[in-house]
């Protein structure tokens, strides 16, 4: 079973990387995009096959290590069949 953690910056937190990408895109002639934000993904594979169990464990991992909850938000997606 796989858990995908999507991590994004909280609303209002500066995203210098997103800004730099946006600048670069517009220099390359992509002008239709008016906002770029960046995020991270962490993909965890489990032996366990109990969805609830995996979700709970991943949540705990997020809170203790994976996510900087001061400036980041996250959501967890569970994929049963890899």
């Amino acid at each position: 079973m796989r858990a995908i953690v999507n991590i994004s910056l909280k609303q209002g937190v500066l995203d210098p990387q997103g800004q730099a990408i946006q600048n670069s895109l517009s220099n390359l002639g992509f002008n239709n995009c008016n906002n770029v934000r960046t995020g991270k993904q962490i993909i965890l594979d489990f032996q366990d096959n109990d969805e609830e169990q995996v979700f709970k464990e991943t949540e705990k991992m997020c809170e203790t290590l994976l996510v900087n909850t001061v400036i980041e938000n996250y959501d967890i997606e569970i994929i049963k069949e890899i």
Partner: protein, 763 residues
């Protein structure tokens, strides 16, 4: 001024709200006291609206107003013939000859780094760099003084690794070498780490920029990054004691962007090369508020700003938010009228925002427009001059206890103690830290972390046919346990150790920046630590003619009532005329080591408050080693003299841990050994004799070990100047530190501990 206008309400509900009258409750929420609120109402002759009150609250915060420390800061020695600008500007400026000035300052980012170690420390570096380049200097070096809780705690590991990554993340990217610093661990910092960053820059002496506004009607320009809702009320947060609930304040963390910082640095220096800039101020704590108020106040003028013209990153920001945002990488400038276009071209080139947002006025008032309405109209004077200044009650508590050597139960051999010393992360090498810092970018680093008692950076372009050039030496120092035990002596000690470190690198000490990190000043004994330390620093600084030219105060470093060890960090800068004459700590085979400042007769070392005492008793106790300023000055002068005559090849001051660990550190690099001489009085002692131990590990001040190939000439000179000294022995290739009839210590074994203690904690 209340705006009860429907149109405003419809356009922007939040702006309408901040333009409503404040009340006592809102003042308390913003961290003001009832007395302060009443004072504000009286001084401005009206009830402030919330934006106006927010501006007052930021300006009255400890962080901006220095209300608890101002009275005492004023007593510090700040003048000397080489001082161009003392405290009061963005950074201190000293004359270093050849038409050049060194500009430097240290600043704390303690609270933000505890909440978010990476961003907190990164923005700390960014902030201190802006302070330096605002004055027209190109920054050439960074240092940092760090304090963390117990090294064994997982939280400490997390904080340390984040802080180091953040400091490196900013400094490495912007391309300024981080060349030195200091790192301590003590449980008193468990809930309040200290992150102090120091920046040193160079400028032409006649091209220094100041912040005082000039000329009514001159344009006020905003440059740099856009304003977001970052760190609103950061200045108030930095002034409030931590409680466990402060995690709620978290979204106010600011994010550093070293890339934009680099653009701003280059653009500002490029613009300063033209004649367009009249005055300039970076937006640091309390952002647009403190920058605009300080510029206007210093020029005894007023300022009008149209906040609708401020480049913002987020929708619907209110006047309150724009004024109090602490978004990074921004500057406020006053330009010569007519030069706006020329200036804008430069900022366009560097892809930075450039906006004319207002003008200087002669009204003495700060007037702000938002959405077409007056969001603020207050006199500037009360914001600065009437900021509260407290004469807080204080009590200086000294630990006078002198540990009776005869009562010490020696439970360890000299070898075991040495092992304990270097297993102590405070004493072990900090290479795990400094290897994450780019120490050689800019190509002028001569000595950096781990090579010498002070770092040395060459002054770019000063090389000529008979020298590789002039250099600046720099260091940060403080021994908090001494300050705790006796604030006055501890304050003096920090200055003396810094000066000794500068001298031991071959440079002449010149001037000081300082970072006063303490607990809650409303407590009498903490205020006593502040007062005592300032008095000690002042006394030593004026004796050594190293005036204080800049600094920073960080108070309320307490969590749930537990304060930190008092930590007045001294950042010192010195000059060396020929960098090829610099001194490192590493000795070479065939060198003779001598300790200066200590004679053959000296055997009873100062054990109170020492690392040795801690190892034996598990806790620090006793009075710190006393400082004798005359001796300190003598030692500094003689080292410089010996070096000038090219008689010594290495030098290392004796500080934490005492004589024996200092000798070891001089042998590590080349895996060398020494047959150590003992004074006659000790030669017959057995290996568990307390005098022998105190000789090895006592922390008496005013001592430096030097290495020479010219023992006879050195002796002559020392005798001529009447300097106490003792010959420790000749350095050999044995890799053993041998004390005859006492013990043999393998330098390799000890070195392994020294090098790997911190790494093994961190990995």
């Amino acid at each position: 001024m209340t705006v009860s206008n429907n149109k405003l309400y419809e356009d922007n509900k939040f702006e309408y709200m901040v333009q409503q009258e404040s009340n006592l409750e809102s003042a308390l929420e913003m961290g003001l006291t009832k007395e302060e609120y009443n004072l504000i109402c009286t001084k401005i002759k009206k009830i402030p609206n919330k934006t106006e009150l927010g501006i007052f609250s930021a300006m009255f915060s400890e962080h901006c107003s220095y209300k608890s420390s101002k009275k005492w800061l004023k007593t510090m020695p700040t003048e000397a013939s080489h001082v161009i600008q003392g405290p009061g500007e963005n950074a201190g400026v000293i004359d270093i000859g050849d038409g050049l000035a060194a500009i430097f300052k240290i600043e704390s980012h303690n609270h933000p780094s505890f909440i978010e170690p990476y961003q907190g420390s990164a923005t700390g570096v960014g902030g201190i760099l802006r302070d330096v380049f605002t004055m027209g200097a190109r920054p050439i070096a960074l240092l940092n003084a760090l304090r963390f809780g117990s090294a064994s705690k997982p939280l400490t590991k997390h904080l340390l690794s984040g802080v180091v990554k953040g400091i490196g993340g900013y400094g490495n990217c912007i391309g300024i070498p981080t060349v030195g610093g200091e790192t301590n661990f003590d449980k008193s910092y468990d809930g309040n780490i200290l992150v102090n960053a120091m920046a040193v820059g160079l400028a032409d002496k006649d091209k220094i920029f100041y912040s005082a506004a000039t000329g009514a009607n001159n344009p006020v320009i905003y440059v740099g990054a856009k304003t977001g809702r970052d760190g609103i009320h950061g200045a108030t947060m930095a002034s409030a004691e931590f409680t466990d609930s402060s995690s709620e304040k978290r979204p106010t963390v600011q994010v550093g962007d070293p890339f934009t910082g680099k653009l701003l640095l280059e653009a500002c220096l490029e613009l300063m090369n033209t004649d367009a800039v009249l005055s300039i101020q970076d937006m640091g704590a309390a952002g647009l508020t403190s920058s605009s108020v300080e510029m206007a106040s210093k020029g005894s003028l007023g300022m009008f700003l149209d906040l609708d013209l401020v480049p913002t990153r987020e929708e619907q920001m209110t006047s309150y938010e724009i004024m109090l945002s602490e978004s990074q990488e921004r500057m406020l400038m006053i330009l010569k009228p007519g030069s706006e276009n020329k200036a804008k071209l430069i900022f366009d080139k560097w892809d930075l925002d450039f906006a004319v947002i207002g003008k200087v006025t002669d009204t003495g008032r700060l007037v702000l427009n938002k959405n077409g309405f007056e969001a603020c109209n207050i006199p500037i004077n009360p914001l600065v001059e009437d900021a509260p200044e407290y004469d807080r009650p204080y009590e200086i508590i000294n630990n006078k206890k002198i540990i009776d050597l005869n009562k010490i139960v020696i439970n360890k051999t000299i070898n075991e103690i040495l092992v304990k010393v270097f297993k102590n992360p405070n004493m072990a090498s900090k290479k795990w830290i400094w290897e994450q810092y780019d120490c050689s970018v800019m190509g002028d680093t001569i000595l950096s972390s781990g090579q010498s008692d002070a770092a040395i950076v060459k002054i770019h372009g000063t090389e000529n046919h008979n020298s590789l050039g002039k250099g600046l030496a720099m260091t940060t120092d403080c021994t908090p346990r001494y300050v705790k035990a006796n604030p006055f002596e501890g304050g003096m000690q920090a200055v003396c150790e810094a000066a000794r470190n500068i001298a031991a690198s071959g440079a002449k000490p010149l001037a000081i920046t300082n970072n006063l990190n303490f607990g809650n000043p409303e407590k009498k004994h903490i205020m006593g630590e502040i007062v005592g330390a300032i008095k000690g620093i002042s006394k030593a600084a004026s004796y050594l003619n190293t005036p204080i030219v800049s600094g920073n105060v960080s108070l309320y470093n307490e969590t749930n009532g537990n304060g930190i060890l008092p930590t007045p960090v001294i950042g010192m800068v010195g000059i060396i005329n020929k960098v090829e004459n610099c001194l490192g700590v590493n000795s070479e085979e065939g060198n003779t080591l001598l300790v200066l400042g200590q004679s053959e007769e000296f055997v009873e070392g100062w054990i109170s408050s020492s690392i040795y005492q801690e190892i034996i008793n598990n806790e620090f106790d006793g009075a710190p080693p006393p400082i004798n300023l005359e001796n300190e000055k003598e030692i500094i002068d003689i080292i410089l003299k010996l070096n000038e005559e090219k008689l010594i090849t290495a030098a290392h001051d004796i500080s934490d841990g005492g004589l024996l660990p200092t000798i070891c550190e001089m042998l590590f690099k080349n895996n060398l050994g020494i047959d150590l001489n003992l004074p006659d009085l000790l030669s017959k002692k057995d290996s568990k004799d307390i005098l022998l131990h105190s000789w090895c590990f006592g922390e008496d001040q005013g001592r430096v070990i030097v290495a020479t190939k010219n023992l006879n000439k050195v002796k002559l000179l020392l005798k001529k100047y009447n300097i106490k000294f003792f010959i420790l022995g000749e350095v050999n290739s044995s890799s053993n530190l041998n004390i005859k009839n006492v013990t043999t210590i393998s330098i390799n074994d000890i070195k392994n501990l020294y090098e790997n203690t911190l790494t093994s904690i961190m990995c």
